[in-house]
């Protein structure tokens, strides 16, 4: 843990000159570790001279920040209006059935995490899905299976 705390301090130091640096710092921490450990909250609070409650409040406000480590492939299905107009709700039901978990859950083997997202900016090629940060358009069940199978190969 102490080594990780050093890394966290180094990340904070890299943002020393920035104005209002908490979000960029949290992004960097999550990019480095894959999540934001509760134990780093006091470190951040001390380094930035804010209260632990402030740091906790920011982490929990934003849906991107995770408090648990995860190795899972993240599948984010867009549920916003444009995607709904071409069957996003059906796609949600299909993916939930495929993986046997609901939106917001990870499969028991930890391989896939299913999430909802509201708009990926691909509204003319709906329905849209984002898998580990990469966007796919014109998505349906068959194409999702194909994309995930390709991802597993590489």
């Amino acid at each position: 843990m102490s080594e990780d705390a050093e890394t966290v301090r180094a990340i904070v130091a890299a943002h020393r000159g920035d104005r209002g640096p908490l979000l960029p710092i949290l992004h960097d921490i999550q990019d480095t570790f894959g999540y934001i450990d509760q134990e780093w909250i006091p470190v951040l609070a001390t380094e930035l001279n804010v209260s632990r409650a402030d740091v906790h409040g920011v982490i929990t406000f934003y849906t991107d920040f995770r408090s648990e480590p995860s190795q899972a492939t993240t599948v984010r299905v867009c549920r916003a209006e444009a995607c709904q107009s071409l069957g996003a709700e059906r796609l949600v039901a299909d993916t939930e059935q495929m993986f046997g978990v609901k939106l917001g859950q990870t499969t028991p083997d930890g391989s896939v995490r299913l999430e909802q997202v509201f708009c990926l900016g691909n509204c003319a090629l709906a329905p849209a899905v984002q898998i580990n940060g990469r966007m796919y358009g014109r998505m349906d069940r068959a194409r999702l299976v194909e994309v995930l199978a390709k991802g597993a190969e590489s």
């Binding site: 920035d18 104005r19 209002g20 640096p21 908490l22 979000l23 960029p24 949290l26 992004h27 402030d54 409040g57 920011v58 406000f61 934003y62 849906t63 991107d64 920040f65 916003a80 209006e81 444009a82 995607c83 709904q84 107009s85 071409l86 997202v117 509201f118 708009c119 990926l120 900016g121 691909n122 509204c123 003319a124 090629l125 709906a126 849209a128 984002q130 940060g133 966007m135 796919y136 358009g137 014109r138």
Partner: protein, 512 residues
């Protein structure tokens, strides 16, 4: 060498543009110069290959990777005919009929080429601006009649004048690139397809109001836009377009990209400022307005991507030329975005005044499903549902307001006749409950109650009584919410009720 274009735009990539580019490189790598341009905005044709010929750029699309070899064998690199050949792209009705000011370079140039940028008119506006007094630049903006393209439509010149007139050593220019509304993707396409245009617009704004620092707040759902902008900013510094002496004028302007973290509410300007300050994205009460007390309490311009990207052209050609376009108090061009269940979806920039019918049934070609259009939602999740009977509405802020709709940012989502409008109304409340910042009660609690009341109505539980409750609730949210999130969520709900009351009755729902 033959120049061939395959878009790098993330929408094009989402349907295979990277694979098409790879197939091209493999099949004809030594014969071609491959440019990864932005998208032309004809998204139903993506991945679109363009080949530069003497006749102009010939388009082929939509292309699958496995078709690339066949296209090359058929003579695509000489612009030969083929079943996927679309002809000269600039002569297609969709392209020919647009008036592209904001999107002039998007899809045409290599987004990160400074040579392309200057060759296509880039920096003209900034040079014009730097040669003039800040007050003159603001006056030009006011004369242009440009209104905020993020949705609210507030006159940009008035906002800039306020920041200019507010004394302060430190002022900021903030670009709201938290494009969270469904049906909008033009901000993303511009950031990915012509990032220097946004940088130039922000630099002009900085000169006009005396700001020295700028922030672009991009949502985390747009990783490609973030990467392109960061690269573009580095290149701009290398060429002296940003930094301590912009184009040798003595202007100092530093520009930073900040990434959101999955909160829709951060597209609301005061919430975005809180987020930029490293806090929870809680909405602020107004007044004070951000132009006077903005980021870190300093005078701040907050403008949308397309507002700022319209600025270089206004300075290059003059505010008067810009204001000649459009109708009534909606001046200039609007970047319409055709989305959802539409045959030909994409970006269509033209002067205000074009009707919904021309856009949706004309250029858009009706629904993708081939079924009749039932309704369109204009202006994002907080915009009203507009029935087909109102498709003759001219796209004008005031005309839409008079019809109890909202033109907003010009995002249009099309729904066909299988859509259950009571579900869409319920979703509007559900979305508000999910994304409310929680600061004010009408939004935080009202949205949750809204879902419950709609469920009771559609469940047949005292429909008349519960409709009265829903109307009360909508009125309260409209009048009592702190910002547009809670204040405008009743728009989709009420418009669905007004135009499609039959969808809220039990009998109808059972019939479906």
């Amino acid at each position: 060498m033959i120049t061939v274009y395959v878009p790098r735009d993330s929408a094009a990539v989402s349907v295979g543009a990277d694979e098409v580019a790879a197939a091209l490189e493999q099949a004809a790598g030594e014969r071609i110069r491959l440019v990864r341009n932005g998208s032309r905005g004809m998204l139903w044709l993506e991945p679109l290959i363009e080949v530069a010929t003497e006749r102009g750029r010939i388009g082929y699309g939509p292309v699958s990777p496995h078709q690339v070899q066949g296209l090359i064998d058929a003579g695509m690199l000489d612009g030969a005919d083929h079943e996927l050949c679309l002809g000269v792209v600039d002569e297609l009705p969709w392209m020919r009929d647009q008036q592209r000011l904001c999107f002039a370079r998007v899809g045409v140039t290599d987004p990160l080429s400074v040579v392309d940028y200057e060759a296509h008119g880039g920096l003209t506006g900034l040079r014009q601006a730097l040669a003039r007094e800040p007050a003159d630049v603001v006056a030009e903006m006011t004369e242009s009649g440009l209104r905020g393209r993020g949705g609210a439509g507030f006159p940009a010149g008035v906002k800039w004048q306020t920041v200019l007139d507010t004394p302060g050593e430190t002022k900021f220019v903030c670009c709201n690139a938290d494009e969270g509304d469904s049906g909008t993707f033009a901000d993303r396409m511009l950031m990915e397809g012509d990032p220097f245009c946004l940088i130039e617009g922000m630099t002009i704004a900085a000169h006009a109001v005396g700001a020295s620092e700028g922030y672009i707040y991009v949502r985390s759902e747009y990783p490609d836009a973030v990467a392109t902008l960061r690269r573009a900013i580095d290149i701009a510094y290398e060429h002296g377009w940003l930094g301590e002496n912009v184009l040798g004028s003595g202007l100092r302007f530093d520009l930073f990209v900040r990434v959101g973290a999955g909160a829709y509410i951060c597209g609301e300007e005061t919430s975005m400022l809180e987020s930029l300050e490293g806090k929870r994205g809680m909405v602020r009460s107004k007044p004070p307005i951000p132009a006077i007390t903005g980021l870190f309490g300093k005078p701040t311009i907050v403008n949308n991507v397309l507002t700022l990207a319209s600025v270089p052209r206004i300075l290059a050609d003059g505010g008067a030329a810009y204001s000649e376009l459009g109708i009534e108090r909606s001046r200039g061009t609007q970047v319409f975005q055709l989305a959802g269940n539409i045959a030909r979806g994409g970006v269509f920039e033209t002067a205000f005044g074009i009707t919904l019918d021309e856009l949706i049934n004309g250029y858009g070609g009706g629904t993708r499903s081939g079924r009749p259009v039932r309704a369109v939602q204009v202006g994002g999740p907080l915009g009203s549902y507009v029935p087909v009977s109102q498709f003759d509405l001219p796209t004008d802020y005031e005309a839409f307001a008079a019809a109890e709709a909202m033109l907003g940012h010009g995002g249009i989502v099309v729904f066909d006749d299988t859509t259950d409008m009571s579900k869409m109304a319920r979703f509007a409340m559900e979305f508000c409950a999910e994304e409310s910042c929680g600061k004010c009660t009408p939004c935080r609690v009202g949205s949750v109650r809204g879902v419950e009341v709609i469920d009771r109505i559609t469940g047949g539980e005292d429909p008349d009584g519960n409709l009265a409750v829903l109307n009360d609730l909508c009125e309260l949210m409209t009048d009592g919410s702190l910002c547009a999130m809670g204040g405008l969520t009743p728009n989709p709900v009420r418009s669905a009720l007004t135009h499609f009351p039959e969808d809220f009755t039990v009998n109808h729902r059972e019939a479906k």
